[in-house]
Assembly symmetry: D3
């Protein structure tokens, strides 16, 4: 018996004990300090892990079992509370090292701004990358109340870094007029309200491409994911998000990393949000880590 | 600085400070004293206002910004607790004055009976009006347990006042046999279970008509609006209700007033009901107030 | 006045006072001792009854009123706590007597394992029976952690008893690889993810058949029924389940009994799960008891 | 096996099957239609019964076991919804018959107004009765907003009926100035804020007296009983209420009936209010029914 | 009828319509951006107002009625989201003007840092002021994670401004070793764990003094106020806090302003925290505004 | 950077990284399969760890900082679901090894039965041990419904193992008559209702003794700890439990291990139970690990 190994219940279900042999690495980014309306996503990663205990390890969607994927849950990245700048730097360093070791990064948020340093690190390794973004919100602001480091800005920053023509947003139903104008004029792709149908059209064009996928849980209607800070009525169902994950798995895009962000458990006493989130993580592990 | 102006957080987001210049007026009707099953909608108006703080001010559905509509949030009408008769009289007086000043009335309930005095006042001004009614319940009873002033009766009363041929109900999935029989025999229009599809058919027939629209939040499935007194499984999604609001906005009917009723926050600790409700109010402001 | 009759609020709405004259009998099976993830369904039956108070007694789906069906709510079967074996025996005895008296059994769970003794009793009376099973989970395990009496096994047991060719599962989206393999190889029928569409295809083949129907509330997406122990994202809507009940009612199958299981109220402070469940029970009474 | 007897889980724990032999009768009064702030106590009686399942049947406070008291849980009195007048008449009739049969009435509310017809019936039988009243609120209003049948009035009515000198209130911490003035001038007894200490002083003076005891659950601080409509900070602890019940049990007063009212489960997702209430009922059964 | 006056339900109960004639002014400070653990107090002020609707207007503790105190609820101070520096400046300006007009300021938080600019403004007017501070936390840090504007620092700042010998803390049960050392060495007064008893000793020493009182709701045990961000077990009861308010009211200190902070409604679905908070505000109005 | 070390947020705050150097070891025992009323304590250990993030690391009660105690959080012991026998064996093995390495075991439950194998292992090492037991329930049953491995039995078993004269129970307020009779006749010590006062009397008698302390969170009144399966009104406050921990810390008993059990987070949406529990664990670490 080794006493320093008994982390059952605190890592994602079936996480392997050895970092070095793992193909994919799950890590939490428990930051929510730039959130304007209802904070709380700092508690998301831990609750998603907890809910994973209730998951079946086999997926009929993918016809694959978690034992077929070697992944390691590395816990949460320690982030300096209340300091967005240093938090993002820490995440970026962490990701660089993870990518240098050839790992598939699978991040759990935290607010959506955490995706920004991840994308920077991924872009450094794969300069020809594209971004698939599923969200209720455009996240295309240049700043929020004068602050460029805001959870409303990561996709705009990504456009500037990797080129808007490499950014594909789905499910968008909220934003400023300027954001929708930018989406139209910049050359990026944006599908409003829906995810699965437009994705089916876009995926063939991305064939062979290296793609990073960022999913904001609020792309779902609040009925399916009430546990999030900026719930936005009129979203898609869990069924459609599962279908989207499957479409990508069955496509010819080469997913090089992913994250699922903005899970804020306190707003959902039913726990259905973390239960659904843990299922999406399972599907991503089974479908995208190859 | 004026100390009597700082009502941020207590009025609907972007409410203008001046009543006289406003085109539309938001007002609450915090009454729930005739409710049979689960009361609590008296707290609805205030919570919808509170949730409006999280709204984006621009709508991609309408391609319009709240600053393009001049509206004033007048707070709640003071209603005598436990006295339906006097409450309804107070509402009717209030509405008459509001209409006399040429305002577009946008009411927040409260139980559905509050729509009855509103309809009376609107009818007085527009005797050729039609009524669009979205609801899970037919609300066509003549009385409830011997009491003619009940939240199960407002649409029946409206039929008697403006003629059943001018009443259009959508999404209905609950009622007594007699109510469905009345719907069939009286000449009114009733679409069961669905809203958007039948509305698309009916709207052309109402072209040019003056229409008052009353929306009971329970037309949504409880999944989308658990915070209501008489939740009724089998309803429509938030997406369909947003589509319905948009269909009306894009039609040639002339909306002369509207209300959203039966929001009872206590039954929904996730707050998704008030969050969705505040979005519907934004869409109504942007789409129907012209 | 009889003091031993005032059970209003504790039996399903409009339950008749006389057992002997009743055609159908509602009974609770408040057992949840083999549940692995989140227990609590032992409180389901009582809360479904409580929620039935808010129901309309007439159904527009069926165009029928509860007074047209004579049923008796017999309360909960007293089950020995923590002892699955004796609990199942008690249920089986109870069912045998119920069936001997010619009653239509309508059971409220409780975990899904309670359906197993019911099916045994029904099979004894109707050896040519078929089973319709709506669920998120295949429930086709032979055992769970070495224990053959587990809530993951009842459908497998049913296959062995009545023949896999007489078992029809709908809505399945979770299970072990072995369960899906069994479903494929054994000759049973399994529709994944959906219920109404495949049911429409299957029902004609079951024409004239005696059928027992078991519904696990988690066939619904957690958005529609968060109050269940093993919530599984990606399910059907309440609308689709209502449609399924109606399809069966309008078909030529001869329903000889039914149950609705796995309602666990503690996980749903909105109470929407028990409210929906009580509506499904009403529809079953009106549509299947003939 | 008798199918009409299986009401386990729907009656108070260990309720005997036979009304006639019972010394005490538990009955619910699920009325809350005159409540001004937060309604919901109509669901109290059923939830108290449900919670009683978790009780130990023996009490170390009383050194007595529930099998030593013969009581029958008669369910809820069927009350005409929304009609206070007829509801109160129904309760009074019910009580008269109960008392005529020599039963000890133990009522579960419901709003506090339900105690008024009970007191009338008790007074008819015992014209020399006294009233012990534990509550946060004085309940001494003559009317509420012009309505004499209000949950703020029952103790005033009792004073008028049985004489203020026979009314003893404890724990009072809320009311109008007029109510406190009446308490002072009328000759009734009122102890503010505390229960056990003043009760210890008063009980000897009531030696040999026939006493009816009415307990409003909000005499407890909201910390101990958040599930009530008009929670009032600054109350007593559960420990003090248990002590008060014990003091009465050990005194020489002759308790002729009792009730526990204003339990409104919806405001308490922790269920601690109904759990505590069911314990108080057990103690009353063990300590006051002799 | 004036349509711009109907703010019933959105101001504290019985707030007068006229600012100029008011002696006291209630204002909200909905800021929580420096909170480390569980944010959410930005929603406190509005919910306290909402809960005030359930209050009795007369207090038996003070034997006084709200109509005897002329106060005006000015709503929330509009604060720039996410910017502590500018928020505090705004509050300070607001307070200076309020004090210049001779008003008694009664603030609703928001996180505890909002008290700092208030104290600065009060000190400017009353340089001989003392501070009474009731809290679970010492709030004596010089900075938090390098940030001097943190909700852990306001009392330290106050010590530096008005002199530690003029600061009196009560109920303290959490802090860093350095904070307790400072409390000991600096000459300030700190009572651990208790409030009423030490207050009774200190008040005579403050006789005739001008005193500002700041109350952090978490001075209460979480049992009495679960709706707060940094709940700390081992606190006082609501009864003791009511007693403390009364002790100050009956003393010879001259209260020149007060606040109640850190009410975070999301963590308390029972609503008991805002219900208690609104009662404390009533007592402060009745007891301290003279 | 080491990727296999970042378990922030998943271990108790300030847990050291090295098992070998640690004096105390925290471990979870997430078992609740013998629970009769409301299960859910299997989720307790993880939520207590999560809540520890909000703790101050210094304690004014003990005047000590967590950095002064070297402890290691080993995560949860992996337990075979639904199998009490094997679960208890696993715990006992684990404890034997822990004790063999000279560690102070600090366990997090889980139902109370998990203390039984711990006590067995402790007794093997310290045959002269005494047991201090704080609980609402006597836990002195010989079996529960025929099952000797029940959460109602651990203290009886302990009496048989270490001798009733070495068992000291505090705060007891629920049990069968037989349990209270056993407590009286066997020679064990039992203090009803209270903890701190009787503990103050007993501790001198235990001077120099080796003592294991087991705390059931339900010794607290449900007001202070609603998140537990068998809440029992009439308990002590958090203040009294903190005092009890301090009394033991300041006494001459030699604590050789401890546990805190029956925390069931699902019943407490306010999270106050896990917040309080994490504070008790901090106090135990600071006060008892020497």
């Amino acid at each position: 018996m080794r006493f320093d190994e008994g982390y059952s219940g605190k890592v994602f279900i079936m996480s392997r004990p050895d970092f070095d042999e793992a193909k994919a690495v799950i890590y939490g980014m428990p930051m929510d300090w730039t959130v304007s309306f209802r904070p709380g996503s700092r508690f998301g990663p831990n609750r998603i892990r907890e809910a994973s205990l209730g998951l079946e390890e086999y997926s009929p969607y993918m016809d694959r079992h978690l034992e077929e994927v070697n992944y390691f849950d590395a816990g949460d990245i320690p982030l300096p509370f209340g300091n967005p700048k240093r938090s993002l730097d820490t995440i970026q360093d962490y990701l660089k090292q993870l990518l240098a070791k050839g790992k598939f990064p699978l991040g759990l948020g935290g607010e959506h701004l955490v995706s920004w340093p991840v994308i920077q690190a991924v872009y450094e390794k794969y300069p020809d990358m594209a971004l698939i973004h599923m969200d209720a919100h455009a996240d295309l602001r240049e700043e929020y109340e004068g602050e460029p480091l805001s959870h409303s800005t990561p996709v705009r920053k990504a456009c500037q870094l990797i080129g808007p023509e490499n950014v594909y947003s789905f499910g968008i139903r909220s934003g400023m007029r300027e954001e929708f104008a930018y989406a139209k004029d910049s050359g990026m792709y944006m599908a409003r309200y829906e995810v699965a149908k437009p994705l089916r059209e876009i995926l063939p064009k991305l064939s062979g491409k290296k793609v990073y996928v960022t999913i904001d849980i609020d792309v779902l209607d609040p009925a399916y994911a009430p546990g999030t800070g900026t719930a936005e009525a009129g979203g898609i169902s869990s069924k459609e998000l599962l279908e989207a994950i499957q479409l990508i798995a069955n496509s010819n895009v080469h997913v090089v990393g992913a994250d699922l962000v903005e899970v804020a458990p306190i707003y959902d006493p039913t726990e259905q949000t973390v239960i659904a989130a843990s299922k999406f993580i399972r599907e991503i592990l089974l479908g995208w880590v190859k």
